[in-house]
């Protein structure tokens, strides 16, 4: 009997010890505790946000932000107040990819700021451009304009398209003088569609930029930049002149698309500075059920520069108010002129 006890007793002691050590008490949260939600939000951003170093001269010190907003949360009286305090704290990062989502609102940073709209959907809908007889292939609207230039309107990288869609469009445009790709007011979407689209405008592998990711919890913990390449896509290609139209609301995947297209030889960008958003966002959440996202993986251009604050166009053009009243899109007209004059 004693021998049996000697064998069984260590098992029981070990199991008791292991079970006790598995309680995870440190992960238990008070869901509605305002301070706990604030602390978790601040800490998550502190550990995961990727642009602290890059933006050190343009945003507040994150530790100072902690004390500034902690005082506000201490005086907070309602859940809605808490949301807007936390939302304001996130706006300090000046990043459209940093958002806080609740069931009653989404906290967001206004990327447009003082920039002009430089896009008018009513002008695009006029007969001079898309009119009513345009064609649709997936998320792409297209038409051959009167000056024999193909026009593609792509309003969101969340609207998908296929290789077959691109084949039909490029076949339809095969005898045109050039193509205008209008991605103004395109706020981004699926990153993998960027390469699918851009790959139709190159016949060889092209180095288009670099990618990093947050490799640790420190503000400077970023991985070495890894080069990213654009491979020629399957199906029909177009090697004529291409103008990509941009404005401040070209954001996220669209910013990436513009960055990729600028590397290609027969491509010119026309319009206004893009909105940036060159950090791929990741999601997280708070104890009270709100969730958030923040940039964690920056994209860099071929010269290893961040494009988080946007990309300047090759040709800067703003919409002319008189043109707009006459339903003429100054930016499209400029792009068409550049194509017809073989200016690039």
């Amino acid at each position: 009997m004693k021998m049996k006890n000697k064998i069984i007793a260590p098992f029981i002691a070990l199991m008791a010890l292991l079970t006790f050590s598995s309680c995870d008490k440190d992960l238990e949260v008070e869901e509605e505790d305002y301070m706990e939600n604030f602390e978790m939000l601040w800490k998550t951003v502190d550990e995961k946000y990727c642009f602290f170093d890059y933006k050190k001269d343009s945003i507040k010190d994150w530790n100072n932000v902690y004390y500034e907003y902690k005082a506000k949360v201490e005086n907070c009286r309602s859940k809605m107040d808490l949301f807007y305090i936390l939302g304001d704290m996130l706006k300090e990062l000046k990043d459209g990819h940093v958002n806080l989502y609740s069931s009653f609102d989404i906290a967001r940073y206004d990327i447009q700021g003082d920039y002009l709209d430089n896009y008018n959907s009513k002008v695009i809908s006029s007969d001079r451009y898309l009119g009513r007889d345009y064609k649709i292939a997936g998320g792409l609207k297209y038409k051959i304009l009167e000056n024999n230039i193909g026009y593609i309107r792509y309003s969101s990288f969340s609207s998908s398209f296929s290789d077959a869609n691109l084949d039909y469009i490029l076949d339809y445009f095969r005898n045109t003088e050039g193509i205008v790709i209008d991605v103004r007011d395109n706020g981004g979407g699926y990153a993998d569609l960027v390469n699918v689209f851009a790959s139709r405008f190159t016949d060889h592998k092209v180095h288009v930029g670099y990618m990093q990711y947050k490799s640790g919890k420190g503000h400077s913990d970023l991985s070495d930049p890894e080069p990213i390449y654009l491979e020629p896509g399957d199906g029909l290609h177009y090697y004529g002149r291409v103008a990509v139209l941009t404005n401040r609301n070209c954001y996220s995947a669209t910013n990436d698309f513009v960055q990729t297209m600028t590397v290609l030889p027969n491509v010119i960008t026309v319009g206004d500075r893009t909105g940036g958003g060159a950090g791929m966002p990741m999601s997280s959440e708070l104890p009270n059920g709100w969730y958030m996202r923040m940039s964690v993986a920056p994209y860099l251009d071929v010269n290893m520069h961040y494009t988080e604050f946007g990309i300047d166009p090759d040709v800067k053009v703003d919409m002319d108010e008189k043109d707009e009243l006459n339903k003429i899109d100054t930016i499209i007209e400029t792009a068409c002129t550049l194509i017809l004059n073989a200016s690039f």
Partner: protein
């Protein structure tokens, strides 16, 4: 024709009192097999998906087999296990959920000892592979967390038989713990898009040991015969803590097991039931 078939003879556990028949094939070894269903409590913390602890339930189906390595090596047994697990968990505010699904296989060898009467103590090592994933229904670029790892485990199994008047009860304790392995993990804030679309695999398969992967699994069960069947009830507990690439996971599963245990013998040809059968867990 019959000679080409493999016959599976199902012998109910502890039913060796069945009438023996004359045969020349002595020394046959049985395979002890248990098929169990576990239902219980599950907790998931995966810092890649969320900073919060998710709680819910888990279900698991497990098939375990123990057999001697060969007729001569009757102090060494082979252990195999296949299991599929599903976890259904929610965050504290119940506004998001994580669904976990994984498949795992174990194989290994145990050395048999009989320290006291009616006790079979088995010490050995196991190798395992886990494959599966977790899905968080609300995240954008980090909705998945892939489970892919392979480990070497130390394993202790103990069978203690309690003879009653007509039947025998068996208490089994199986404790195991990995000591080295390799697991897939994204780097700290690396998205799966970067890993798989841009082929950035550097650092995604780190070697793990106690410091980076602390895991243990304990199965305590009671086998009891009723008529011609032997049932198993028990408690399954498993704890996994990993800390690689500055990402932390903590999982805890506590489940009740129910199932069937039986012994079987495979042999070729139209032989008669062997007279002498050895059970690897006795």
């Amino acid at each position: 024709m019959l000679r080409n078939f493999s016959f599976l003879l199902l012998l109910v556990s502890f039913s060796l009192s069945m009438s023996a028949q004359e045969t020349d094939s002595v020394g046959y070894h049985l395979t002890n097999r248990a098929v169990t269903l576990s239902i219980g409590n599950s907790r998931i913390y995966d810092s890649y998906l969320s900073p919060l602890l998710y709680k819910g339930s888990g279900i698991s189906l497990m098939d375990e087999r123990v057999s001697f390595l060969s007729k001569k090596l009757d102090y060494l047994s082979k252990y195999t296990e296949f299991a599929c697990n599903a976890d259904f968990t929610n965050n504290p505010s119940e506004t998001a959920s994580i669904l976990g699904l994984s498949f795992r296989g174990f194989t290994g060898v145990h050395y048999h000892m009989k320290p006291i009467k009616n006790m079979n103590l088995m010490l050995g090592g196991l190798a395992n592979v886990d494959l599966g994933g977790r899905y968080q229904n609300r995240n954008q670029n980090n909705p998945y967390s892939m489970i892919l790892n392979a480990n070497l485990w130390a394993s202790v199994m103990c069978y203690y038989h309690i003879p009653l008047k007509k039947r025998t009860l068996t208490i089994r304790e199986h404790f195991s713990m990995p000591f080295v392995g390799v697991m897939f993990s994204p780097n700290y804030a690396q998205t799966y898009y970067e890993i798989f679309s841009e082929s950035q695999y550097d650092g995604t398969f780190p070697i793990t040991s106690f410091g980076s992967r602390f895991q243990w699994r304990n199965k305590l069960s009671l086998d009891f015969p009723i008529r011609i069947c032997t049932f198993r009830v028990g408690l399954l507990m498993e704890r996994t803590v990993t800390n690689v690439n500055e990402l932390e996971t903590r999982n805890m599963n506590v489940s009740c097991m129910v199932g069937l245990v039986y012994n079987y013998l495979t042999f070729k040809g139209s032989k008669r039931i062997p007279a002498e059968l050895r059970n690897p867990v006795e």
